[in-house]
């Protein structure tokens, strides 16, 4: 794809200089879309993230809005800098961080953030331990995030209503100020559990009014989790035997009903344990002839040894 700005856009810019455009001037949305290379990022999103349909739709919409906005600007139409701060809510392991990374990429391709890097922080990185420590700490983080995306994981910890003298409030204040004044320098994405984030916004109306996009991440179904497992295995060059695939489905169904189930993260942990058991099995069967296939195949017995199956 060409790196140079599209002909359509430069023509449009020239036309904008003329300051008067009839309503029926042709606009080349296709060219702008191609040049932004947004399709590649969206495809990657589709390919690498299983499920999450509402999230993908939302991202597509946002991308479309930004693209049209940019086109409007190039045509000399009024386009206020859109507020891009977002809030991702959902249960653990539903892909909030991963999507935030992609979001940074998309915004970079659309030219809304200059560098496209993501700085992921939690309360510890923003809030200090004693008076006068918080403000410089928060500013430091914000400076690093400029030109990219600031991802605040578990943002509701910033505000602790039970402690009046908590320094989190100071951090929120600085954050709000930067979110308002440096809108074109950085995009802030807050993430956390749905109910806790709702309570956080209730007690911080200033924050909620500055965040335009609320995206909810749904939990994965068994089928989706199985797909995710496949994808993870492929990446680390393992595979299930046909039987193991069936058993893994049963494993997931059982695991989902148990407490502390963290969606994709639990799947990743399960796979790590499977690899452990597989290695153990291979080691126990020393003396027999091994093939490359053996090294990369996970058998049903590896999965059945899990404690999930031990419980009734």
């Amino acid at each position: 794809m060409p790196d140079t700005p599209s002909a359509a856009l430069s023509v449009a810019a020239a036309a904008a200089a003329a300051q008067f455009l009839p309503d029926d001037t042709a606009v080349d949305l296709d060219a702008a879309f191609r040049d932004s290379q947004i399709q590649a990022v969206l495809d990657k999103l589709d390919r690498e993230l299983i499920g999450l349909q509402p999230v993908k739709t939302r991202i597509r919409e946002t991308a479309a809005l930004l693209l049209v906005d940019r086109l409007r600007k190039s045509m000399g139409l009024n386009s206020g800098a859109p507020s891009l701060h977002m809030c991702f809510t959902g249960n653990p392991g539903t892909g909030k961080t991963t999507v935030a990374l992609r979001m940074a990429e998309i915004l970079h391709h659309l030219g809304y953030v200059r560098q496209g890097h993501m700085v992921a922080v939690t309360r510890d990185d923003l809030v200090g331990q004693y008076i006068g420590h918080t403000a410089p700490k928060t500013r430091e983080v914000l400076k690093k995030a400029m030109g990219g995306v600031l991802f605040i994981d578990e943002a509701y910890y910033l505000y602790k209503p039970e402690n009046e003298r908590d320094y989190g409030a100071e951090s929120i204040e600085i954050l709000l100020q930067i979110m308002e004044n440096n809108r074109d320098d950085l995009v802030v994405i807050l993430a956390g559990y749905k109910d806790r984030m709702d309570r956080f916004f209730e007690s911080n109306p200033g924050m909620s009014s500055r965040i335009a996009h609320h995206v909810d991440f749904p939990d994965y179904g068994v089928g989706e989790l199985a797909c995710i497992a496949q994808l993870m295995l492929e990446k680390s060059q393992y595979r299930f035997s046909p039987e193991a695939e069936k058993v893994f489905g049963q494993y997931l169904a059982r695991r989902m009903t148990q407490p502390h189930f963290a969606n994709a993260r639990s799947v990743r942990n399960a796979l790590d344990r499977l690899r452990l058991r597989q290695a153990n099995r291979l080691f126990a069967s020393r003396g027999q002839r091994l093939t490359v296939g053996d090294l990369s195949t996970i058998e049903a017995e590896d999965i059945l040894a899990s404690r999930v199956f031990a419980e009734p």
Binding site: Q115, P136, K143, K144, M146, G147, N182, L186
Partner: protein, 144 residues
């Protein structure tokens, strides 16, 4: 200072040029960041050329990706010390120590009185010469 009418202090890069604009500073910072250098902001009100170590305005900024944050800090420093010399310094860690690779003044006092030549008579009829900034006749903080 016959070549430097008006007594403008000429230290570091670009100091014979007109003052850098914010856009030009951003471009220079971007270049430094592209090279992987860390940037620091320093200020002083002692313009003597041998005054090498200026006060640091906060710590040098490591791990920065975008010039916006550094420009913000420059403006912060200008607000705090509107009548001081302020310079941006870039440090390269290539040699294992943070060594200065770029340094340019981004803020200077409105009125720079310049330097006078001081003659010092020593043994015999030997003359020693030195320069003395007029500004440093006043105590620190009241110079400009």
């Amino acid at each position: 200072m016959m070549t430097n009418l008006g007594g403008r202090v000429t230290q570091g890069q670009f100091s014979f040029l007109p003052d850098l604009t914010d856009v030009q500073i951003t471009a220079q910072v971007k270049y430094a960041l592209g090279k992987g250098w860390a940037l620091g902001i320093e200020y002083t009100d002692d313009p003597h050329p041998r005054n090498t170590y200026w006060e640091m305005f906060g710590n040098p900024m490591f791990d920065m990706k975008d010039p916006a944050g550094i420009l913000k800090e420059v403006n912060n420093c200008r607000k705090t010390f509107p009548n001081h010399y302020i310079r941006v310094t870039a440090f390269s860690a290539v040699r294992g120590v943070e060594s200065v690779t770029m340094s340019y003044i981004v803020n200077r006092p409105k009125n720079e009185p310049g330097f006078r030549l001081e003659r010092h008579e020593t043994d015999g009829r030997t003359m020693r010469y030195t320069i003395h900034p007029y500004a440093t006749d006043k105590p620190e903080g009241e110079r400009y």
